[in-house]
């Protein structure tokens, strides 16, 4: 039989190498934990690199011993000497390493979990399958939007997380760890963005049919830009400007959309679906699965079920195309 163990080692190293290559070329991405944009993510990444490095060395040693043992021509070892391998390698070494790891892990966890000193509070509710986002103001006032979270750079932001239906999990990989949203409970998470950019958040807990299609956009902005943006979001919707959009607004009300959606400044005050007051200003539609172009709005209204299986909103594919286009124009114009 050909050399058994060595090829295994080579195959593993090759795969390791390939993965490393991938890692070096492709860390970036809107939802990558490997290119952190928050303090939490950065500290966890440092921990990861240390652990991964150590793990690699330990693997090489363990497997190296196996390869050595499988060599046909090697000197024989006494059982007593081998026993020291068990005591040293199996008992003492892991105990020491794991103690260190635990100490680091506990210290980091205690830091990550403290919710003190938040500069801004945002309540996020996981719905099937989108995100209700409320910026909590000084008193009881709040500004609601959906599927998009904008954050000021360098501030500590406390997220207050819950769910009215099933368990979801709120995760912005670039900023930090995830926390579940559990019906009947309120969980908290503090994140601190350190880099301006556009990122993606996802639902990490399986929550039913379209779990895969429950994402959101995260935009980290300079603090002053953020204040402007939030002020705009707090305003009621602007009146439609074009004739097409005005027609679309009629269509919106004629088809009962207002029963589920709120557009502040109009009589639409439904609370089942996402708030659409400034939906046209958002970077994505349908929980970050479509852009906010008029064409995307038209597709979404006409083929909702097809785009997002199991969604509560009915498809309005039966409406005439002109009406769909008009509604799309109205909604995408809600800047």
């Amino acid at each position: 039989m050909p050399a058994a163990a060595c090829p295994i080692g080579r195959a593993c190293l090759f795969t390791f190498g390939c993965t490393l290559l991938f890692t070096l070329t492709g860390c970036d991405g809107p939802q990558s934990t490997l290119s952190p944009a928050g303090t939490g993510a950065a500290r966890i990444l440092t921990l990861f690199w240390w652990m991964a490095g150590f793990a690699f060395v330990i693997w090489l040693i363990v497997f190296g011993i196996a390869v050595y043992a499988s060599r046909p021509k090697r000197s024989s070892h006494s059982a007593n000497a081998s026993r020291w391998l068990i005591i040293g390698g199996g008992a003492i070494f892991p105990t020491v390493v794991l103690t260190l790891l635990l100490v680091f892990g506990f210290r980091l966890m205690a830091d990550l979990r403290t919710t003190e000193g938040a500069d801004l509070r945002i309540a996020v509710t996981g719905e099937r399958w989108w995100w209700r986002v409320r910026y909590l103001g000084q008193k009881d006032q709040s500004t609601e939007l959906a599927n998009e979270i904008r954050l000021p750079l360098g501030k500590r932001i406390e997220f207050i997380l819950d769910s009215p239906d099933v368990i979801h999990s709120f995760w912005i990989p670039s900023l930090g760890g995830k926390v579940d949203m559990i019906p009947g409970r309120i969980n908290k998470l503090v994140l601190e963005p350190t880099r301006v950019g556009v990122f993606r958040g996802v639902c990490a807990e399986y929550c039913g049919t379209s779990h895969a299609l429950m994402n959101f956009k995260v935009v980290v902005m300079q603090a002053e830009d953020f204040e402007d943006w939030l002020a705009t979001q707090a305003e009621p919707a602007a009146a439609p400007r074009s004739a097409l959009a005005r027609q679309g607004k009629k269509g919106f009300f004629a088809n009962g959309c207002s029963a589920c959606h709120t557009i502040r400044g109009t009589s639409a005050d439904g609370e089942i679906g996402p708030d659409l007051t400034h939906v046209g200003s958002r970077l994505s539609l349908g929980a970050d699965i479509l852009p906010t172009t008029p064409e995307a709005f038209r597709r979404w209204i006409a083929h909702t079920e097809e785009i997002k299986p199991g969604v509560k909103m009915p498809s309005f594919g039966m409406l005439p195309d002109e009406q769909l286009q008009a509604m799309a124009a109205y909604l995408s114009g809600l800047q």
């Binding site: 163990a5 090829p7 195959a11 939802q31 999990s169 908290k188």
Partner: protein
């Protein structure tokens, strides 16, 4: 015990030896024709069980390939969201419940008696019953996918998704179908524990038993404590689905997290329940191919027992992100790291054995080496995810998918493949081809790494698990395509292995006896194996008798050990003490029957009809199942032997009957009831869990069962228990009248006690739908009442047995075991009444 002067059973010449072998073979032969399926012997049942588990494995593997096809490119529409969700739910559930655990039990049923030099396990019919339950439940669960009715809540079935937000019977199929299989798993665990403790050959003291048996003992013990909490959880979840009892509904005091606790108290030990037996195979294979005894036997025992314990302290590491207090997470993080120590010890024991001995190169060792390479990676990433902050990032991502497959494929599938190559000759008498094995290995090894190594990276790049599709992000397309290609290569490798196993080998000669030159008892087997399992039951003086005891096989073959003959034409094996393996009984085990098959069919009927909410049919089926089981017990157990003792060879005479703690049935009852009490404690845990999560529990406005009724119930029911104990004693003293009147009183008390127990919540009008408090009280009462009802049936059974003369003053297994059951009833009653009646007084 080894008086060599008495050698009257040892055959004097060839002719006598032949006659003896013929007499011995007769009772052990498998039944011919279609009656083959009535076999209960471990060789047949173990083989069916193993093949069944592998078929389910292949099915789940095909589902995985279809899922990988869907994920090969972003935004794919090969599978719909709902189909994909059903597939991933089934893939996980089947691999865990229909392959991972059963393959261990199946394999152990098949080889454990051989390893212990016994002829069969102590309860062959229980194995058969478990097997048929497994097949029926498995087909029911798997079949649902062809009707688009499969469960789609994930293998973890988190409510409220599975209670309120998924229509159809998928979740019921999962809950009831798998509960049914869990019962079969517990049955097998009971069988295996008693097997290891009581059926060892003379001389095989606790420090001599093969490591495989140590692992079996530990793993079966873990099943006993891990599965019952899940059964309790299944019961609660199904009560909520079927009758709207709000255990997991936060609006009525319930909490979805309670399910997660129950599920993972099961779910994490489950991983080790699957992993340890595979390591047990390695612990048999490595010494054989190192051609020397294992180095660090005690260390391996430490690792097995230690892992068994510590693995119960890990469950919350599946719940790191649920928002529990940091201090709680730290406890579980600590245990999750501690468990790495015994795991490491095992690996170093195997390495040390190889270093101190040889390293015979063949396919089995190739798979072992591959397993090491893969598993160590999985173990190391496991240490990483056990650090809570890191888990905050990668929890529920593809990183964890990669981790768990490195653990389970490296830690289970590769060792099992090695075990297949190693044990195949023992089962069929023929060896598998080395060449095909190498091809299969390399396809599997490369395919596996190509499929799963990139998943670490997709997870780190933020790709969540359980997604039927994904948006494109840098790297996702190439990583996922690579994984899909790898999955197909892995499947091709496995196909080679399957082909090699099933290809006809008519013309291939039988392997020589003990083909690997192993040292343990299972290799006494002749090629092909004879139906009796062990020609004689040997006297063991070493951990590796085939290496160390001179003339061993010759002595075995020539009837120079115990039980070389079957003069009465009965199936016989030896029962010994649990520590020092001193023989105490010659046990007659039952032969082929269809009774267990029918019992399983009706039991299955109950669960399947209940899925469709056909409750009348379900109840009829349950009654038939009970009748079938009673008939099976009545005709097949605690038989009074025609003589008191029997000469078993080498001058030893053993009793043919033992009752109380001398009987294997007593041990089985004890072990079963430990599992039962564990499930019960799961429900009690619920009561206190709801107390901690609710502001006021019991709610100030709610009426409770009061104190009086529970106290009365406790009094009367303890009376029933005392009367049962007295009945046992008076039976021993041959006082028939006292025996019967004690049991009648006990039955009256039990019935009155059940009524008093139910009267508390009933008279207080406690509505279980309104709030979790009344629901919890009712579930405790119902649990206790059902068990008491069963206790009454047992008391009646003892009276009937006594009346029919199947139980006597002296031969009293039945009443002994029933009394043991009632000891546990006393505990159950005390806890229930103290909780529902006493606890509200404290708050």
């Amino acid at each position: 015990m080894t008086d060599m002067s008495h050698q009257n059973q040892i055959p004097k010449n060839e002719e006598e030896r032949r006659a003896q072998e013929a007499r011995l073979a007769k009772p052990w032969e498998a039944p011919p024709g279609w009656r083959y399926w009535s076999a209960v012997n471990n060789t047949e049942v173990g083989l069916w069980y193993t093949v069944g588990a592998f078929i389910f494995f292949l099915f789940a593997g095909v589902l995985a390939l279809l899922m990988r096809t869907q994920l090969s490119v972003p935004g794919n529409d090969f599978l719909s969201a709902e189909t994909y969700n059903q597939f991933f739910t089934l893939h996980g559930s089947i691999m865990m419940f229909l392959f991972g655990v059963p393959i261990f039990e199946a394999f152990s049923i098949m080889i454990l008696p051989q390893i212990l030099g016994a002829r069969d396990l102590p309860f062959p019919r229980l194995s058969a019953y478990g097997f048929w339950c497994f097949v029926i439940g498995g087909i029911f669960v798997c079949g649902s996918v062809f009707f688009d009715a499969a469960p789609r809540g994930g293998w973890f079935m988190y409510p409220p998704l599975t209670t309120k937000y998924q229509e159809g019977i998928g979740a019921d199929i999962w809950l009831l179908g798998l509960s049914f299989i869990e019962i079969a798993s517990i049955a097998a665990a009971v069988e295996l524990i008693v097997g290891v403790l009581k059926t060892r050959p003379p001389g095989m003291r606790i420090n001599m038993i093969p490591l495989y048996a140590w692992y079996v003992l530990v793993v079966a013990g873990m099943i006993l404590f891990a599965f019952p909490p899940l059964i309790a959880g299944d019961l609660l979840l199904e009560m909520e689905r079927a009758f709207d009892w709000p255990f997991f509904d936060p609006d009525r005091g319930g909490d979805p997290l309670f399910w997660q606790h129950l599920f993972w108290i099961f779910g994490h030990p489950e991983v080790y329940i699957i992993f340890l037996p595979a390591i047990a195979l390695v612990a048999m294979i490595v010494p054989t191919f190192a051609q020397r005894p294992i180095v660090g036997y005690t260390w391996v025992v430490l690792a097995a027992v230690g892992t068994g314990f510590v693995s119960f302290g890990l469950w919350v590491h599946h719940m790191y992100t649920t928002g529990l207090p940091g201090i709680s997470l730290s406890f579980f993080s600590a245990a999750s790291e501690a468990v790495a120590i015994p795991t490491g010890v095992q690996i170093f024991c195997f390495l040390a054995t190889a270093l101190a001995g040889k390293f015979v190169r063949n396919v089995a060792m190739l798979f072992v080496t591959g397993a090491l390479a893969i598993f160590v990676i999985g173990g190391l990433t496991g240490v990483m995810v056990a650090v809570a902050p890191f888990d905050f990032q990668v929890h529920d991502t593809y990183f964890v998918v990669a981790h768990l497959h490195y653990v389970l494929i490296g830690g289970v599938l590769f060792p099992v493949s090695a075990g297949l190559y190693y044990f195949y000759p023992m089962v069929t008498g023929k060896t598998l081809s080395e060449k095909t094995g190498q091809v299969a290995f390399w396809f599997m090894f490369i395919g596996f790494n190509v499929a799963f190594m990139p998943m670490h990276l997709s997870g780190l790049l933020g790709m969540p698990r359980r997604v039927f599709t994904y948006m494109d992000a840098p790297g996702y397309d190439i990583l996922n395509m690579t994984s899909t290609v790898g999955a197909y290569v892995l499947a091709a490798g496995f196909a080679c292995l399957v082909y090699e196993v099933v290809r006809p080998k008519k013309n291939q000669p039988y392997a020589k006896r003990n083909p690997w030159n192993a040292g343990t008892l299972e290799w006494m087997a002749e090629m092909p194996a004879k139906p009796w399992g062990a020609r004689t039951i040997p006297l063991v003086k070493s951990r590796y008798p085939l290496w160390d005891q001179p003339n061993f096989l010759d002595d075995v073959d020539n009837g120079r050990f115990y039980l070389p003959d079957a003069e009465e034409g009965k199936r016989e094996t030896m029962i010994s003490t649990s520590i020092d393996a001193v023989p105490i009984q010659c046990l007659r085990v039952p032969g082929p029957t269809f009774k267990t098959f029918w019992a399983a069919m009706f039991t299955g009927g109950f669960f399947i009809f209940a899925t469709y909410k056909w409750y009348t049919a379900a109840m009829i089926s349950a009654a038939l199942a009970l009748a079938a089981i009673l008939y099976w017990l009545w005709t097949g157990t605690a038989k009074i032997p025609e003589k008191r003792e029997k000469h078993v060879g080498l001058g030893m005479t053993l009793p043919l009957y033992g009752s109380g703690s001398q009987s294997v049935g007593w041990w089985a009852m004890f072990i079963t009831m430990v599992a039962d009490v564990t499930a019960f404690l799961g429900l009690v845990f619920g009561y206190f869990f709801y107390w901690t999560v609710n502001e006021d529990f019991p709610p100030a406005s709610a009426s409770g069962p009061g104190f009086g009724w529970p106290l009365l119930a406790a009094g009367i029911l303890l009376g029933s228990w005392i009367m049962t104990v007295l009945a046992r004693r008076w039976n021993r003293q041959a006082r028939s009248g006292a025996f019967y009147s004690a049991l009648v009183t006990a039955i009256v008390f039990a019935t009155a006690g059940i009524a008093a127990l139910a009267a508390g919540p009933w008279l207080a009008d406690m509505d279980p739908v309104s709030h979790v408090y009344p629901a919890t009280v009712w579930i405790l009462v119902i649990w206790t009442a059902l068990h008491l009802g069963l206790g009454v049936i047992m008391q009646l059974y003892c009276m009937a047995r006594r009346f029919a003369g199947r139980m006597t003053f002296e031969y009293d297994i039945d009443i002994q075991n029933v009394t043991l059951y009632w000891h546990f009833m006393a505990i159950t009653v005390l806890v229930t009444t103290a909780v529902i009646g006493g606890f509200p007084l404290l708050t």
